[in-house]
């Protein structure tokens, strides 16, 4: 039964070997002539300005997180809409409950001010 | 029949609740002490009525279970709140409530003006309640509840003077040692329950049920194991080798506590327990031998230490350990009734001795206090010549001392001699008997010696107290003296209810009432011993008289030596210690047993704990926490740098755990 998974194992092994092999090979084969310019961080060809370790505003994370939350939940709507007729009234009611719960969350974050930038 | 026995433990419980909850508000010492003593007296009255009813019944109707309600029930297991009323528990009830009452009365005077007076009486009542549960419980679990309860009260009362570090430490030591013993008790309980249940389908922990099926226990084997477990429990509670070192330290508690808990009642619980389970012990010859040897060894060993102590209470403490050794010796040679008899007489004279020493300390303390002296009021080297200052205390103390020394006619003589004779003549241990008897007899001589040394150093000779204090030494009030008189009286006459057969016959056929009374409890063991083929005890009147004479002579020799050393030529002891310095040091320092235990057990345990704590926790976990606490500046740096590392560590330990477990399943 495990034999059915052999191709997957092979895939994993080969991909690991390929990745590692490329790294190891390039470090052996490639010439190393470091210079100041070469060691600079790459910034689309321009001269780098300031440190690369900029801190992002936490607000980005919050917005991104909320986006993903609602995004993922919206995904549930797709299979439901395809089977909407087959599911009948019960399906409609269930989705109503689902949306209502989402709505509670939405009202909560809205009132909390999580959607305001300032 | 005995429907009202539940009142006996109820009264002290009420006393505990009243004093514990409202004692602080009552404030009035007389009311608090009065309630405490009255409650125990009520119990004593009910116990006496129970005893009289018991005596009026014929021998075979003297065992009763009085069930109040079902306590725990699950499947096959059942434990009730129920009391076992039989001759053995009757005797114990009388000792606990009777001596307990006297000590309560004494405490009213002794604890006068102490901070937390109400606390003391609340604990004392709670103790009495727990002790009564222990004695009356009709099953092992209820007995265990009492067993734990007395341990707790003992701990609380030893640490009563909690501002003294030594008192707190002594309490802790007592508790820990008792826990070791309790562990044995529980193991015994589990093993017995499991064995009887799985092997014979008898799931019970009730004493009468267990005794009813006594035929089913095999000789030796599992019974040896479980009786040894129970005996481990007994050594903890009753301060026998190897778990005895807590008792001398327990003298940090107030003197009435030493008298009640650490002499008369709680420490005898182990003896009582073996008596209660005699049908099991008799089937385990190896255990009996262990009990006898430990008992004899403790009796001798503690007596040697007692000879070199200068603290009046410590002498009595080692004496208690030694006398408990006698009781275990009696149990170990199958003389159960004699052991219980000695338990009772010992309760009388040792309580009297402790209370008397308390009166002396009390008086010394006040006298020294007046003169602003910092001498130790318990050190006998500061005493002397108190005979004329405290005549009643002296008289009662002397009577009790004569009783413990084993002078014919006094209580201690009858009980101790019975034990020594049984040690010599019992059918169980063969050639070992002589050694057992020898240990007991030598210990008896040492007992006579150190007890009279105590009397001579305290009451006779010149008064060595600071001269400024001399005039402040005086006799104690009546409330203290009265219990002393009653106990001294009992120490004198208490022995006559259990006279050895040969003396009774000599006096015109007086039977051993005590043994007769207890006979139903030990019936099975008696029958069992008789049924054994080799069980022919050598009975020889001449021998018995002879041995009795020998032990009397030994006692007299002990007293004479004490007289010579401490009255006739008081310079001799100093010369003696000078001649054998190492021996004296070893005895004075209690043979260095405490140090040995520290080295063998306490320190390795501490080291292990330390290692786990330091290696496991301080380095890995606490580093971070301490860092947070110590430096506000370092917080963010520490958290930023160390946080991920430490979570890594945790995750690593989990991953390692998983790997080890899976590896186990793959390669097993």
């Amino acid at each position: 039964m495990l034999g059915a998974y052999l191709p997957i194992l092979l895939l994993v092994v080969i991909s690991i070997c390929f990745g590692l092999g490329a790294l190891v090979l390039s470090s052996f084969v490639g010439p190393k002539k470091p210079s100041k310019v070469k060691l600079q961080p790459y910034e689309c060809g321009c001269e780098p300005v300031g440190s690369a370790r900029e801190r992002f505003s936490i607000k980005f994370y919050l917005i991104a997180m909320l986006f993903i939350l609602f995004d993922i939940e919206a995904v549930f709507l797709y299979p439901w809409s395809i089977l909407f007729k087959k599911l009948g009234m019960f399906g409609l009611a269930e989705m109503g409950v689902f949306i209502a719960i989402l709505l509670v969350g939405y009202i909560y974050i809205w009132k909390k001010g999580a959607l305001e930038w300032e | 029949m005995f429907d009202n026995v539940w009142l006996i433990p109820l009264f002290p419980l009420i006393g505990f609740l009243i004093n514990g909850l409202f004692g602080k508000a009552i404030k009035e010492e007389k009311v608090i002490g009065g309630i405490g003593a009255l409650m125990v007296f009520c119990s004593f009255v009910v116990a006496s009525m129970t005893l009289f009813k018991m005596i009026s019944l014929p021998g075979h109707e003297r065992v009763h279970n009085v069930t109040l309600f079902t306590w725990i029930k699950s499947g096959t297991f059942q434990a009730d709140i129920a009391f076992l009323i039989d001759p053995l528990s009757c005797v114990m009830l009388m000792v606990v409530t009777g001596v307990g009452f006297l000590i309560h009365v004494y405490s009213i005077g002794y604890m006068h003006g102490e901070e937390g007076f109400y606390r003391f009486f609340a604990y004392l009542n709670l103790f009495t309640f727990s002790m009564l549960l222990l004695v009356m419980g009709n099953n092992l679990l209820l007995m265990f509840v009492g067993w734990e309860g007395v341990g707790l009260c003992s701990y609380l009362l030893i640490g009563y003077y909690f501002h003294k570090k030594s008192a707190g430490d002594a309490g802790k030591k007592a508790f820990v040692m008792n826990r070791v013993g309790d562990f044995g008790f529980l193991l015994g309980l589990f093993t017995l329950y499991w064995y009887m249940g799985s092997k014979h389908g008898i799931w019970t922990i009730q004493f009468t049920e267990l005794a009813k099926h006594a035929e089913l226990y095999p000789v030796g084997g599992v019974v040896t194991a479980l009786t040894l477990f129970f005996f481990l429990g007994a050594t903890g509670k009753s301060a026998q080798i190897p778990l005895y070192t807590w008792l001398p330290d327990a003298m940090e508690g107030p003197t009435p506590v030493s008298a009640l808990i650490h002499a008369a009642t709680m420490v005898t619980a182990g003896v009582y327990m073996i008596g209660r389970m005699n049908f099991l012990f008799i089937k385990a010859p190896e255990t009996m031998m262990v009990v006898a040897i430990i008992g004899a060894a403790t009796a001798l060993f503690a007596a040697t230490i007692g000879t070199a102590q200068n603290d009046i209470k410590r002498v009595l403490a080692y004496s208690t350990v030694s006398q408990l050794g006698y009781m275990f010796l009696a149990m170990g040679v199958g003389a159960f009734a004699a052991g219980i008899f000695h338990l009772m007489t010992h309760a009388f004279f040792k309580a009297c001795l402790f209370l008397g020493s308390g009166a002396v300390i009390h008086s010394m303390h006040h006298a020294l206090h007046h003169a602003h002296s910092h001498d130790d009021p318990q050190d006998m080297r500061n005493m002397g010549g108190l005979k004329s200052k405290m005549p009643m205390t002296f008289l009662t103390f002397l009577l009790a001392t004569i009783a413990i020394a084993g002078i014919p006619g006094f209580a201690g003589f009858f009980s101790k001699d019975e034990i020594l004779w049984q040690a010599f003549a019992n059918p169980h241990h063969g050639t070992l008997n002589f050694a057992l008897w020898g240990c007991g007899a030598i210990a008896a001589g040492l007992t006579a010696f150190y007890m009279f040394r105590l009397v001579f150093m305290t009451f006779f000779g010149d008064c060595r107290i600071n001269p400024k204090c001399k005039d402040h030494l005086h006799e104690s009030p009546m409330v203290i003296v009265f219990p002393l008189i009653v106990l001294a009286f009992l120490s004198v006459v208490g022995g006559y209810i259990g006279m050895p057969k040969i003396i009774g016959e000599l006096l015109g056929g007086i039977p051993n009432y005590f043994e007769h009374f207890l006979a139903p409890v030990f019936e099975f063991s008696e029958e069992y011993v008789k049924s054994q083929a080799h069980a022919t005890a050598h009975h020889s009147l001449v021998l018995e008289w002879g041995l009795m004479g020998v032990s009397v002579v030994i006692a007299l020799v002990g007293i004479s030596i004490a007289f010579v050393l401490y009255i006739a030529s008081p310079s001799l002891p100093a010369k003696f210690t000078a001649a054998f310095p190492a021996l004296h040091r070893a005895v004075y320092n209690k043979w260095y047993i405490d140090e040995l235990y520290d080295f063998l057990f306490v320190n390795p345990c501490k080291a292990l704990g330390n290692f786990l704590w330091k290696g496991f926790d301080v380095v890995v976990v606490d580093g971070i926490v301490d860092g947070v606490g110590k430096s506000v500046l370092g917080i963010s740096a520490a958290l930023k740098n160390l946080q991920s590392g430490y979570v890594h560590n945790y995750a690593l330990s989990m991953a390692l755990g998983v790997v080890v477990i899976i590896a186990f399943y793959l390669f097993r």
Binding site: L87 | S74, F162, V180, W194, D617, V621, L639, Y650, L656
Partner: protein
């Protein structure tokens, strides 16, 4: 057009969960609409919700309800555990208000989060499908991560929340992988179906995938109940989290972990019993010993109770290993009494603490017994019960766990358990030594007992003493709830 046949849905099977989650959502909304000074209502409302739920739990007793096509089953076993969860949630809420006000972090989200966590626990207890159990576990865990880090401006609390989250996610991975392997081996996630598949195809003993799945699930649950060596998160998280939440975390989720652990292993994998009993034996011994020995040297009382709670998980594992009626009833009895005694002890810690909790060390209890005798007596009762000294409920519980082990023939396990509980007395007693045998350093004049905490203490003391003295009734309930 033909409609899809709906599976059998039985709302009665998830009645308590439904009520709690509706109330939680309502509270969430109320929280954002009412001004902050009226937030005390939230606590009362949540308590009312819990009481109502408790009545539905009592009402459901004796009538098992299966629902959602067999993925939840509200039987007596689940109901008993739901009772434990509700008790621990209610007691924790009672001590939260005063603490949160003192620490100035009185955010209204606390109550909905507690209710949602309780809801998750309930799903774990009644789930009969690995997916349902996982769903409950995640609902519980996510709520707890937030609760642990609830004091946003306290570094320790943040540390606790983050650590708990990281390690919790790690352990969830194991659990889920274990479930996946079991699914791979048997082709189903219904625990009853797993059992019948394993029995029909006699996979036990031969199938490695099943075995490793079992091990990984055991690891995942062991993390939740804080069994060694998966306990490392406990002390840090318990110490850092707000004290009422520590109380909550040390009881409810642990009970929930045991509920799911027992149900999955006893119902789905009875044929592998010999294998997992060995594993749990070792875990139990390790857990008890590590917990107790490390607790011996703790100075911080919250940390000490954290290690003690590890040790208690070990005792309960003993009953699990025993696997018989007595042992399993012991688990339930013990978890319920543990809820009372542990939360009670934490209530005292809340009372004694000052803002920022600079005084959580055992030494800070010096002389407490003289300044506040009644509170000290309560604390002593809780400590006695934790130490397993009669007549407290903890003693009866331990007695049952160990006698279950003995009846099942695990003598050595019981011996190690008894030894451990003897050792544990030392550190519980140390607190009492400080309370009663040291001179007071502090006046404890900041200490005020709010009516809510007083109520909590009364309930906890009654919950420790009454089952301790007359355990019969509760034991009977526990025995009726046993899953055998």
């Amino acid at each position: 057009m033909e409609t899809i046949a709906m599976p059998a849905i039985n709302f009665a099977a998830i009645m308590p969960e439904t009520i709690l989650s509706v109330i939680a959502m309502a509270l969430l909304l109320i929280n954002v609409f009412v001004p902050s000074e009226q937030k005390a209502y939230l606590g009362y409302l949540s308590l009312i919700g819990i009481v109502v739920t408790f009545f539905t739990v009592i009402g459901g007793w004796g009538t098992p309800q299966e629902g959602f096509n067999g993925s939840v089953m509200q039987d007596n076993f689940a109901l008993f555990f739901k009772g434990i969860f509700l008790v621990s949630a209610a007691l924790s809420i009672l001590i939260s208000d005063q603490y949160m006000k003192r620490e100035e972090c009185n955010h209204g989200e606390l109550y909905p989060l507690i209710l949602l966590a309780t809801c998750g626990m309930m799903l774990m207890a009644s789930g009969t499908d690995l997916m349902t159990i996982f769903l409950g576990l995640e609902l519980l865990s996510v709520s707890l991560y937030v609760l642990a880090g609830f004091q946003r401006d306290s570094l320790k609390s943040n540390e606790a929340g983050l650590k708990y989250f990281l390690l919790g996610a790690f352990s969830t991975g194991f659990l889920l992988y274990g479930m996946a392997l079991i699914y791979g081996a048997t082709g189903t996630t219904r625990i009853a179906a797993i059992a019948s598949y394993v029995a029909q195809n006699s996979l036990a003993g031969s199938n490695l995938m099943l075995l490793i799945g079992m091990v990984l699930m055991a690891v995942g649950f062991s993390f939740k109940i804080a069994a060694a060596p998966f306990h490392m998160w406990t002390p840090d998280v318990y110490e850092g989290a707000p004290t009422p939440m520590t109380a909550f975390m040390s009881v409810g989720p642990k009970a929930a972990g045991f509920a799911a652990f027992v149900r999955v292993f006893v119902i789905a994998l009875p044929t592998l019993r010999a294998d997992w009993a060995d594993l749990l034996w070792v875990l139990a011994v390790l857990t008890m010993t590590v917990g107790n020995i490390t607790a011996l040297y703790q100075k911080n009382i919250k940390r000490m109770l954290a290690y003690s709670s590890i040790a208690h998980a070990g005792y309960v594992l003993v009953g699990f290993v025993a696997g018989n009626a007595v042992g399993t009833a012991g688990i339930m009895f013990y978890m319920l009494s543990y809820a009372f005694m542990n939360i009670g002890a934490f209530a005292i810690i809340v009372l004694v603490g000052k803002k920022g909790e600079p005084n959580n060390n055992v030494e800070d209890y010096a002389g407490f017994g003289f300044k506040h005798p009644l509170l000290a007596v309560c604390m002593s009762i809780f400590l006695f019960s934790l130490a397993g000294i009669p007549p407290a409920a903890g003693f009866i519980g331990k007695f049952y766990l160990f006698s279950g082990a003995i009846q099942a023939g695990y003598i050595w396990l019981a011996i190690i358990g008894v030894l451990n509980s003897a050792a544990s007395v030392y550190y519980y007693l140390r607190v009492m030594v400080f309370m009663y045998m040291k001179d007071p350093v502090e006046e404890f004049d900041w200490l005020k007992v709010s009516p809510a905490i007083a109520l909590c203490l009364i309930i906890a003391v009654a919950g420790v003493l009454i089952p301790g003295i007359v355990p019969g009734y509760l034991l009977e309930l526990a025995q009726k709830a046993v899953l055998l």
